[in-house]
Symmetry: C2
Subunit: 392 residues, 2 copies
């Protein structure tokens, strides 16, 4: 079969705020080939990602993503890898291209799986889908009291793990941050996994980041996520070498396999976090999961949006029993909840698995998303290169 | 003064081909502040770069570039660095943002220089603008005979240095490639600097690339550019360690300082090539030039488009007398030639300097560009977020 259409649906909440909450909009991709449909999601700015698909060619190494996707043969996983390599080469100078490709690549896996009637993780070579401990992905409150409440709520909601991110960490004193870490621990309880994400707040300032280690150790934090710019491998390695029980985590911004590999090999992280909606989809995510196993590094998904993205992000390490923890969007905005007709629910143990259903196992509920559809149009010369598809 | 407007002009040739020739379209940026004007150029896909400026916010770390630029105070170079840091933080998840910022950042330097009546290189701390040996940037012919002719023509045009790129290299036999290198050497003459650029053709295949070293050495090639993917530092380092006189070069795709630093420190290149229109502009280019000096690595600009981009790209190492070679667009398309009213011409020695005129010293000839203006429009909801500005 051949890839016939690729449609981008841009959804957004009526109001989008500056909160570090990626579920306020969504870019959902629908691919059709040979009478089959597949779904994917770019974890990316919607408008530039759409523009990267439809823009006019600038030159041979700066072609739109569409040029390497539409009309391509799609019979098996090798075709997906071939298409991805073509995008990497012919859209080499189009920076946004990997974000655009990510959602398409997921959709190609989903489509193939639906056609073959098997889940994506099986096509990746895994024998079974292992249970994961979902952690509630939460933002720090403005005060330790707010953080404490959020931790308590996550615990009451049955989460055995929680990650607190962003908020005021790194903007005040070392003591203030330690109080936040302690509040998070108190809220989620003594036995839960607790992780901390500071969203690159320390830039390349190793000293400032290292001053937080004592507070993190006191709160028995499992990992310290993104203390530095994503590419500050030297700073990661320096911090990783310091005396502390906390391991470093990062990688969510990796938009190719090499960036993830470098963060492991040069940056010495203990947990590698891959966003399937940014790195180019499921194929490159699986390669990173294999590299992590070789290195004794723990693979973790990065997912802050919908259950479609969650399913896609679980596939790469679905069969790795030792990598137990997964990110789980605990409190997304209504639009993100509306995407999946059949969300990935926690079982009696509070755990989740990548679905047994074919493909990604998530059906996209387009009619439910209609209220969030953003009407967009891109014209060049006399041609309309993009217009939001209709939802009937 | 405050930044009042940022206008993007998208120009393209009537026909854009798959040639590896970046001068077939151009994205020119005009910034106004306090009654002054500055010009810059993004070396980037125009439509996605414009979209990254005007797109709706997705969340706090995925804001449009405009949010960090419009209305900002602009009094000195520190403000430019501050604005760039703001973009890096608030557009962290918008992959295209550094390409968009690059043209704006150049324009801010140009504007400041015009206001202060001094060239940008002086604002960067250089005492004088040192002469550079421009190399003709050429594509390999389909046959050694074509390559020979192109080399002879460059020599006849007075070039004492030439770089041949892309073409069939890496797609046929080792012998065929060696014949091409020999033809290039014969064409440009025995005393000229000769460089070879293979546009990442070997991916991460160290063996395939290493087989070309003998042919490169035989043709006395100064540098071997982009044998691998831009981020394949491990492959670069392996090849750099092999017995050969040729030094590796790369870096054009760096869209932040860290990527350039890693290619030097992990990849062991001998020449670091920075495209000012991709790395975020002149400030980050200058930081890389300083890092290169510390390491004994040669800095070279990467410029394949207009003389506006050429001036911007020269500024970062204008005052480094030892870094003699510069890339010079030898045969750009008419639109690229039309951009600069006052191009940077070679002197009697065939050399060029960054202009002594204020700012970037290049005046953009908008009326001459009118035939190439691309009419584009981006609408979201009821709002027109972008429409091509008029040229009167």
């Amino acid at each position: 079969m051949k890839i016939e259409t690729v449609d981008f649906f841009y959804f957004a909440m009526p109001e989008v705020t500056t909160d570090a909450d990626g579920s306020q909009d969504a870019l959902i991709v629908r691919v059709s080939a040979g009478g089959h449909i597949g779904w994917g999601e770019c974890e990316a700015a919607p408008l530039p990602s759409i523009a990267a698909f439809i823009c006019p060619m600038s030159h041979g190494a700066c072609r739109p993503v569409a040029a390497s996707v539409l009309g391509q043969k799609l019979e098996g996983p090798d075709d997906i890898a071939r298409i991805s390599a073509l995008v990497a080469r012919d859209s080499m100078d189009l920076l946004q291209a990997p974000h655009t490709l990510s959602g398409i690549e997921m959709a190609l896996w989903d489509l193939l799986g639906r056609r073959r009637d098997e889940p994506v993780w099986k096509m990746l070579g895994y024998k079974r889908s292992e249970p994961k401990i979902p952690y509630a992905s939460l933002l720090f409150g403005n005060t330790p009291e707010e953080t404490l409440e959020r931790g308590r709520k996550a615990r009451a909601d049955g989460f055995g793990a929680a990650k607190f991110g962003w908020g005021p960490i790194g903007t005040g004193s070392v003591k203030a941050d330690a109080d936040q870490f302690a509040a998070a621990r108190e809220g989620i309880g003594p036995d839960a996994h607790l992780m901390v994400d500071v969203g690159q707040i320390f830039g390349e300032d190793i000293d400032a980041a290292s001053q937080r280690l004592a507070g993190l150790d006191a709160a028995r934090v499992l990992w310290f996520e993104e203390p530095f710019f994503g590419s500050a491998y030297e700073a990661y390695a320096a911090l990783a070498g310091m005396k502390s029980k906390v391991r470093l985590a990062g990688g969510e911004a990796a938009h190719n396999v090499a960036m993830a590999r470098h963060l492991m090999d040069y940056g010495k992280v203990g947990h590698i976090q891959i966003d399937c909606g940014r790195i180019g989809g499921i194929g490159p995510s699986k390669i990173v999961a294999d590299l992590a196993v070789e290195r004794g590094i723990t693979y973790v998904n990065h997912t802050f949006t919908t259950h479609l993205a969650l399913s896609a992000s679980l596939q790469a390490y679905a069969g790795i029993a030792d990598d137990r923890i997964c990110e789980y969007p605990a409190a997304p905005r209504p639009l993100a909840l509306a995407v999946a007709e059949n969300p990935i629910l926690r079982d009696g143990n509070g755990e989740i698995c990548a679905p047994e259903r074919p493909g990604l196992g998530v059906d996209v509920d387009l009619p439910a998303l209609k209220p969030y559809l953003v009407d967009a149009e891109i014209k060049v010369g006399n041609q309309t290169l993009y217009r939001t598809p209709r939802i009937d």
